[in-house]
Amino acid sequence: MLHLVLFCIFGGLCLGAAINLLLQTHPINSALSLIVVMGSLALIYLLMGAEFVSIVQLIIYAGAIMVLFVFVIMLLNAGKEERLPASKIMPILGAVGMISGSAAGIYVLTCDPHTSARISLGQLPGPADQVGRLLFRDFLLPFEVTSVLILIAIMGAVVLARRGEQ
């Protein structure tokens, strides 16, 4: 019962913020809504017992990535979005896509017998020591490849954002 109540609170917060992201016209309001989505997702992870993932979600997503977004919005001085005549048809397509996509997803998910399992509060604890042991033993090669990916991303960002010579 407690699990259901907590899930409804955090899930409702998450959905409300996600819909607010769509309704806002100024990008800074959308960015703040996205921070709320990520924070409530971290709490939902904590409900399932995924401690490490929850903290990493807060630090990387809600912390680092969103700070980057807010900085870019500030740097580019982004204002309210303007709508050109060419973009009038997209809300209709978007509404149709959302309704049909969610309906199909919910139908598949609720009818598949593999997804009828039940989850209790904190069922699979994922503390940092166990996740770390798995990461550095079984997934060592992907982890090292990831560091190369980060290095390439840093160099790419520097090259792309550099001001031209002229």
């Binding site: 959905l15 992201l21 939902i44 490490f52 997209m90 978007g94 997803g105 919910i106 960002a157 001001r163």
Partner: protein
């Protein structure tokens, strides 16, 4: 004790919100934020399935998804800055030429 379905349905609706944002938003930064929302929705279903099956590998995969998202955010925002510098606009409808 709640069914796994609840988490998956929440994840599906969040993903749909991301897709809709990608389609209806005209600001390139907001479009990019919708992509992040879709990645978050997928992470939620990873953790839910990992919990239901009792394997920790799902948590590791979420970690890798986050690393890729961080790299993508860094490169994507650099591209946005570069586009803004040449076009002086953030509206994707005004970025309609392959070359300036």
């Amino acid at each position: 004790m709640i069914p796994l379905n609840y988490y998956l349905v929440l994840s599906a609706i969040l993903f749909a919100c991301g897709v809709v944002g990608f389609l209806i938003k005209r600001n390139i930064i907001t479009i990019f934020m919708s992509i992040e929302l879709m990645l978050n929705a997928v992470n939620l279903s990873f953790v839910a399935f990992a919990t239901a099956r009792g394997v920790l590998s799902g948590h590791i995969f979420v970690f890798f998804v986050m690393v890729v998202a961080a790299a993508e955010a860094a490169v994507g925002l650099a591209i946005i800055i570069s586009v803004f510098r040449t076009r002086e606009t953030l509206n994707v409808d005004r970025v309609n030429l392959l070359k300036l």
